[in-house]
């Protein structure tokens, strides 16, 4: 191995200009705005907005959807902060409050709506489609997010990957609500949670290659 002085000379010799990254909050907001515009276009063209707006009149449903959106936004912002070495490690806990609120609201909805196996048991047939929807939205969003986070070459890729994956999973679950014209049941919630967990699990597995840590 080179001695340190030789290494320093070598590094000095191969230096090229390197423009600093934009602040993490700005990068997160840019990414979220880009995704938001695309999602808004899709929802406007394909979703049944009147059903969504009717459902949002119920306070619990409104709070559930907003907490899903907030979980997504905070998780993705946390991923951008965690990708930098000198930012607080406490960002990894930032998604917890909205996530707990989201789970609580969803759970309350399940208590009210049951398992979906009763007279409205036909709804059970839609739950697998919800699982597919969340994964189909999460995976390309995740790839897009990781492509941007890679630029920071995070030294600790796992928390970055976990927050990023939770963020895209939550955003996918939020977008699903525009196409989900019925109340969430236990089975729905379980499959939504499973889809988000699969996204997070995949991100954990590929974190090193995907985020190209140093």
């Amino acid at each position: 191995m080179l001695d340190t002085n030789s290494l320093i000379s070598s590094l000095g010799g191969e230096l090229t200009p390197a423009a600093p990254l934009r602040p993490p909050l700005r990068r997160a907001l840019l990414w979220l705005m880009l995704v938001g515009v695309v999602a808004a276009l899709a929802v406007t063209h394909f979703a049944r907005l009147e059903i969504f707006m009717r459902r949002m009149e119920a306070p619990r449903v409104a709070l559930e959807n907003l907490s899903a959106l907030l979980t997504g936004v905070v998780s993705i912002t946390a991923a951008f902060y965690l990708s930098l070495p000198d930012r607080s490690a406490l960002w990894r806990y930032a998604p917890l409050p909205p996530l707990l609120l989201w789970v609580a609201c969803s759970g309350l909805g399940c208590l009210q709506n049951g398992s979906g196996m009763g007279p409205a048991g036909a709804r059970l047939g839609e739950s697998p489609h919800c699982f597919e929807f969340i994964l189909i939205i999460s995976i390309p969003l995740g790839i897009l997010l990781f492509a941007v986070l890679r630029r920071a070459r995070p030294l600790a890729p796992l928390p970055v990957a976990l927050c990023g994956a939770l963020g895209v999973g939550a955003l996918a679950a939020f977008v699903l609500q525009f196409f989900h014209p019925f109340e969430v049941t236990v089975v729905d919630l379980a499959l939504h949670a499973l889809a988000v967990a699969v996204t997070v699990g995949l991100a954990a597995l590929v974190r090193v290659r995907a985020l190209a840590s140093v």
Partner: protein, 189 residues
């Protein structure tokens, strides 16, 4: 100059050099790396008491600084950024060494793999070969020739018979007698 003012001066100098380095100033960059090396070394020693391992961490950190120099925000302090990289690399080094030590042991003898017998003198096989030599010499000629041809050189009975002039049956008997003689000699040693 009091320490706090010294530290502030150091921070200001390094931040200025790093800004210049991000702009492509090679001389400023090299000066920065030389100045931060002792600081990084002192932090690295908190994670690795061994000075060789600590120096590995220092070089790791300098390489890391080089690769992610674009992640330092010029509007933020430089030293916390550098300290965070050093802490991360130090922790990674501890974890890597711990993983290696769980699966490997150090064996000084295993490093000695030279073919020369003197380098492997402690090896049991060499000692056995040295002990058996005189015993072979003590065997009768026909028994020794049969044993060497069949057992040591690996010739077939037909090849050994053609070479030595002994019949196959005689070769078999002489090999058998040679082995019995060696066992007797080894027991009396």
């Amino acid at each position: 100059m009091p320490p706090t003012a010294q530290a502030q001066q150091q921070e200001a100098t390094w931040a200025q050099l790093m800004r210049a380095a991000q702009g492509g100033d090679k001389r400023g960059y090299e000066q920065l790396l030389r100045e931060i090396a002792p600081f990084v070394r002192s932090l690295a020693r908190r994670y690795c008491r061994n000075s060789t391992l600590a120096e590995d961490v220092v070089q790791d950190v300098l390489l890391c600084v080089h690769r992610i120099r674009h992640t330092w925000d010029p509007s933020r302090p430089f030293c916390p950024w550098l300290a965070a990289i050093t802490a991360r690399r130090g922790i990674d080094r501890i974890r890597r060494d711990s993983r290696i030590n769980r699966h490997e042991i150090s064996d000084e003898d295993a490093y000695e793999t030279f073919s020369a017998p003197t380098a492997n003198y402690e090896s049991g096989a060499v000692r056995a070969a040295e002990e058996i030599g005189p015993l072979l010499s003590a065997l009768p000629d026909r028994q020794r020739a049969a044993l060497e041809a069949i057992k040591l050189r690996g010739l077939s009975l037909a090849q050994a018979a053609a070479e030595s002039g002994q019949s196959v049956a005689a070769l078999k008997v002489n090999v058998h007698r040679a082995v019995k003689s060696l066992r007797r000699l080894l027991r009396t040693d």
